[in-house]
């Protein structure tokens, strides 16, 4: 088959690759010869990613304490089912009830979006292939599993649809920005609303800025903004946007971590305020 592809696409059919079992490699059996603490990074990644997954799943199942006027937790935004404490678009979708699970928490109606976006993110793929899959655990350290198919088979081949999840993620940035704007509008003691700023407002803004940094430094974003162009001189505006995205793209892993923390902490903050455990400091005008 490879021969035919090479012919169709103008590659040269070259001699056979010196391969085969062992192919007379250096007779060194050690899985690796590294002396540094190569295991520290995958271990730390494992601990942080796993803790986030545990916390966010727990928070999504709570179906309570996700709204402390005027703050809405990012895990529950946009809140679109009828039972929402704070429905984002007025009404809401009918509640879904399942056997065993009971009422479906509105968090699950939205979490699939950001969830799939992060799961298929090029950076997180690197992070979890190293720390969970151990393929490879670190550079020049042997893969733990014998067989390997990379991202050529179901389900991992689906990560090639990362771009679709990016389109969805952009919509989430719009919604979360709206939530952050509403976080300036506090309920007035005598009814109605008054403007102000609270610690929660700042928390929500930091979160949405970091999430936007993460979303717009994405590799798929870089590609759609201009990465697909071969003659930049003929597409100056796309070149401009591409150059901008290319500037923040190297910070994508940093944004990935910071926004992961900020989204969890924003939920936690709003949860604690809503439970009455901490008091939100605020100034209203």
């Amino acid at each position: 088959m490879i021969g035919k592809i090479l012919k169709d696409q103008h590659g040269h059919v070259a001699g056979a690759v010196p391969a085969g079992p062992g192919a007379a490699r250096p007779p060194i059996t050690a899985a690796h010869l590294r002396k540094d603490a190569w295991w520290a990074l995958p271990l730390a990644t494992f601990v942080f990613l796993a803790s986030f997954v545990v916390y966010s799943t727990w928070a999504a199942f709570q179906n309570a304490h996700y709204f402390a006027a005027p703050y809405l937790s990012p895990f529950y935004s946009p809140c679109i089912s009828a039972s929402c404490v704070h429905a984002t678009f007025g009404g809401g979708l009918p509640d879904l009830t399942f056997p065993v699970i009971g009422l479906l928490s509105p968090a699950f109606l939205v979490l699939w979006g950001p969830g799939l976006f992060r799961l298929s993110c090029y950076y997180y793929r690197k992070a979890y292939y190293r720390s969970f899959w151990l393929a490879p655990p670190a550079c020049a350290v042997k893969d733990v599993k014998e067989g390997y198919t990379g991202e050529t088979r179901f389900p991992l081949v689906l990560w090639n649809f990362h771009r679709w999840t990016w389109y969805v993620a952009v919509l989430f940035i719009v919604v979360l920005t709206w939530d952050a704007l509403l976080a300036f509008r506090f309920p007035a003691p005598g009814g109605g609303a008054t403007w102000g700023v609270g610690v929660g407002t700042i928390v929500m803004w930091i979160n949405v800025i970091l999430l936007a940094g993460y979303t717009f430094s994405c590799h798929s974003c870089r590609h759609v903004c201009g990465g697909h162009v071969n003659e930049f001189s003929k597409a100056p505006s796309r070149y401009g946007i591409w150059s901008l995205v290319s500037r923040i793209n190297p910070q994508h892993p940093t944004f990935a971590w910071l926004s992961l923390f900020s989204v969890g902490l924003a939920d936690l903050y709003i949860r604690l305020v809503s439970m009455g455990i901490i008091r939100d400091l605020r100034i209203t005008f």
Partner: protein, 253 residues
């Protein structure tokens, strides 16, 4: 001031071999290759090692120093603790010839398979025009010195020998990227990338980028953009925009 180190060198060939220790002195400013040469000059005249420029530009002196793929001539001795025992192994992904020398011809086979550039017809006045911004991106890939450290570290072939037939490796992904992003290119390499070069086997774990002595962003600027180019085929938005604009994809007619 001289410091003594122990070089633990791999000695042997395909039939068998072991690591042997050589105590050797290092002066200020020396690199690993200097010490290997000292061992060769004083203790092991039959030690096989490949080198050429001693300036990080020929890509011959690739080895695994303390288990990490590196150029021996660019690895300074002040990286190590005085007195440390430093292991030096051949690049393990390729068949061994002897001691630190391996047979890297896998890479030459893969190089030949890459569909080369096919230029567009010239402009009306018979010339070609390219602007600097058109080629900035691909110039990065041209810094490659073919040391094959990225090929050595890539777990797809390092840990799965059988993948050598269906996988081209990071060095050739940036080669393909350099051609595919070329402003005058006309070749469609999509099936080649997927089915002959095996880009889907790369799980973007970025070890190639970590070891590249030329600091080429192999994954971020080469492999991922290529994966994204392939993803265009499945993107309805791109399809619509192309229809609307009348952009024709590359073909091999």
């Amino acid at each position: 001031m001289a410091t003594t180190f122990t070089l633990r060198l791999f000695r042997g060939d395909a039939k068998g071999g072991t690591f042997r220790d050589y105590p050797v002195e290092s002066e200020e400013g020396m690199v690993v290759l200097d010490l290997v040469h000292r061992v060769q000059a004083s203790q092991a005249p039959d030690l096989a090692c490949r080198w050429n420029c001693k300036a990080g530009k020929c890509g011959s002196c690739s080895a695994e120093v303390n288990g990490q793929p590196r150029l021996m001539c660019m690895t300074r001795m002040d990286l190590f603790q005085p007195g440390e025992t430093i292991s030096i192994a051949p690049i393990r992904t390729f068949p061994i010839i002897r001691d630190l020398v391996t047979d890297v011809s896998y890479n030459y086979v893969k190089a030949k398979q890459v569909p080369p550039l096919r230029l567009k017809p010239p402009e009306a006045d018979g010339t070609y025009r390219m602007m600097q911004e058109d080629i900035d991106r691909i110039q990065e890939f041209h810094k490659c010195i073919e040391c094959f450290l990225c090929q050595d570290v890539c777990h797809v072939i390092r840990d799965h020998e059988e993948k050598k037939t269906s996988f081209a490796g990071p060095r050739f992904f940036i080669k393909i990227a350099g051609l595919d992003m070329h402003p005058l290119d006309t070749v469609d390499r999509s099936r080649f990338m997927k089915d002959a070069a095996g880009i889907g086997l790369c799980n973007i774990t970025k070890c190639c980028t970590e070891v590249c002595p030329e600091h080429i962003h192999i994954t971020d600027n080469g492999i991922i953009p290529l994966k994204e180019r392939l993803a265009d085929e499945m993107d309805p938005v791109v399809w619509l925009l192309r229809k609307f604009r009348g952009v024709k994809p590359k073909t091999n007619a």
